[in-house]
Symmetry: C2
Subunit: 412 residues, 2 copies
């Protein structure tokens, strides 16, 4: 009999218990043993629910119970989740988690403890909700070098951008619609400023490149500056504005960034709408593979947690290959060294002069148009230019024109 | 040291050896041991290639070498692959294969032998080339009941349909273009008549439902009857014609079919173009998840074979859950019991009378249009009707009108 504890009975935690008991007989077949959830840890009172007898309030009950071999951490955040998970792994219990902040900040350390203790630390639910991505990246593509990853990793911002693109809503209106529907929190900063997407690309990049990518080292821009005008120009470009988390090998280092980007309509990522997520993985042998689905939600995320519980319950010993090392700040390339194409929107007195100046700096530019374009507005796409050069060029350009929009053009 | 044999040195076999040695150091890390390919079995002469000393012509050399623990079968077809694989599993060696015909016809039997002998039979490369689909379906979605699967499973037919849709090529011209580019074989029957897609949906359905679905029990229609006119009407419908292999639970039985279908442009499957494949998996907890990528090609397929080699090399004992049982003919629902919407294109003297007759049989129909629609042509979409009823209704309708096009409308 495999005995499991679930820590946290919020949306994902209650979903985990629900999915576990709904599919128990097929889960037991897959594990090859009987299984039960012995404890549910939550400080709140859930008396009267069907799992009344399982609720506990003291973490040490789980830590000190030798019968418990697998624990699901679905509390979220670093405190107290980090201390809990660390103690459990050190006590020789496997842990599975949906906690992206925990994995993005402490993954290397926790994976190392799990290896030492010959147990497992799994986190399929931390990226892409119910989309299988961690295990396919690690297992099925194990014969590939992963060169690049690019993803629409945050459903809230993708919903907002979809409303702007398809219904012409301004950012604020789209955000408040998302809040009304429960897709965005009252304080939407973690989503709209890109921090949530940043944590997820850090996890994917760490796994793909074998060294920890820390959120603090990743240049992160959100979507708060994206305007309806930008969205309209992107339509003329032939694509859609998406918030992209991406990571690529550059020599022995990793380039990692989160930013809004123009994505061509030929890309599989451009047609990913509403709260859906998609992750493109570029392998040296497979070419581009895309994983698409609901990136959040109670049951999709819970099903990923339960599939990790099954894996942890049936696996004897540590999964040697699900691992990455710690790294120092040197591993991440300074983003200013990167080269990108840019979309730029200007307000200026002399459009011809502005284009002339732009072409002097960046070579031939591609002019874009939109309906009801104002008379002194001009928008275009540059050739590739280094981030550092572009920044100083823009400072120069800003002397004679007002820069109203600036978005990277990415090729995924 | 893990010693491996590769049987067959065609496109996939030579790719397997190439990918294996290119990534050997990371493969050995993942296996946790040194590894080498000891034998390559092929009756043809490959002297002068870099792996000269590994080629053998006698299968028994592999069978009788106790050092060989993992064998990749990439010969294709049933003879002699089936006898070889069966003997190897019976001798206690794990086998990985890209051979869809072998898995679709003999999967249950071979999985059973592997289980008895405590070794593994893996086949990630048999569906979707380099797209990870078998293992995600089996592992990562293990907490889900899989209710339905629908896929664009054949790159050749998808290339042909894309040429028809985007460039207005007729079927014959698109087929000969595919042949010139090496995407279609000189005898294209297995692709264009749907047999290749049928084998793949059989494998996916067997895995998802836990019972073997045999190709002979699956109603299979290819794309040879799809015309440019149909493609144009589908454009007015708001979607694309795709060859879909699909499988769904219906009570205790399975509904499985391969057929061309109108797919709405809102579906992620409608934007899958050229030789790409995509597989939609509908789980009870995850909702729809889509896997997209190159469904064929030397290196993508080889990378899937090598990832199975890695899994087989590092795993001790049989993967208990990658398994399905044999089944009798009763498991598959007679397709005539299924209900579908249909697109129908008619040539008739009296269009109004034809519509009236159609609506009498099938309720309100949705009329479609196209440019240069001929005067006595009419096309529409019906409401849901049983296949059996529709067939007899069409026989009735054919008395007063000529049925020129008949394609299912599927909701994926």
């Amino acid at each position: 009999m495999v005995k499991i504890a679930v820590m946290g009975y919020g949306v994902v935690g209650s979903g985990t218990v629900e999915v576990f008991y709904k599919n128990l007989s097929s889960i037991e077949t897959k594990i090859g043993d009987n299984a039960e959830i012995k404890y549910i840890l939550d400080l709140r009172d859930f008396s009267g629910t069907p799992y009344d007898d399982k609720f506990i309030k003291d973490f040490n009950t789980i830590l000190n119970d030798p019968e418990i071999t697998v624990v699901a951490e679905v509390i979220g955040g670093l405190k107290p989740a980090y201390d809990f998970v660390k103690s459990l792994l050190e006590a020789g219990k496997s842990v599975v988690t949906s906690n992206k902040e925990l994995v993005a900040e402490k993954g290397a350390e926790l994976l190392h403890i799990a290896r030492e203790k010959k147990v497992n630390f799994f986190f399929e639910a931390s990226v892409g909700g119910g989309i299988p991505i961690i295990r396919p990246l690690h297992h099925c593509m194990s014969a590939n070098e992963i060169d690049e990853i690019a993803g629409i990793l945050n459903g809230t911002t993708n919903f907002i951008l979809t409303k702007m693109i398809n219904e012409g809503m301004a950012f604020d209106e789209a955000l408040s619609t998302a809040q009304k529907l429960g897709y965005a929190e009252r304080n939407p900063a973690a989503d709209v400023e890109g921090h949530d997407a940043c944590r997820k690309i850090c996890i994917l990049a760490s796994l793909a490149f074998g060294k920890h990518v820390y959120p603090k080292d990743v240049h992160t821009e959100g979507i708060t500056e994206v305007t309806l005008e930008d969205v309209q120009y992107c339509n003329d470009f032939g694509g859609a504005v998406k918030l992209i988390g991406w990571a690529a090998r550059r020599g022995g280092k990793a380039a990692v960034m989160v930013c809004p980007a123009f994505i061509s309509e030929e890309s599989q990522l451009s047609s990913v709408n509403d709260v859906f997520n998609a992750i493109l993985v570029r392998g040296d042998a497979t070419g581009d593979v895309v994983f698409y689905g609901k990136g959040a939600g109670k049951l999709p995320t819970a099903s990923a947690v339960v599939s990790d519980i099954i894996m942890a319950a049936k696996m004897h010993g540590n999964s040697k290959s699900l691992y990455w090392e710690t790294s120092d700040g040197e591993f991440i390339l300074d983003y200013k060294e990167l080269k990108n194409k840019f979309y730029l929107r200007l307000i200026c007195g002399d459009k011809a002069a502005a284009v002339k100046q732009a072409e002097k700096m960046w070579g031939k530019v591609k002019i874009l148009h939109r309906d009801q374009e104002s008379e002194n507005e001009i928008a275009f796409i540059t050739e590739e230019v280094s981030e550092r050069q572009f920044e100083s060029d823009c400072a120069e350009l800003a002397k004679s024109a007002e820069i109203k929009g600036k978005i990277r053009v990415l090729d995924y």
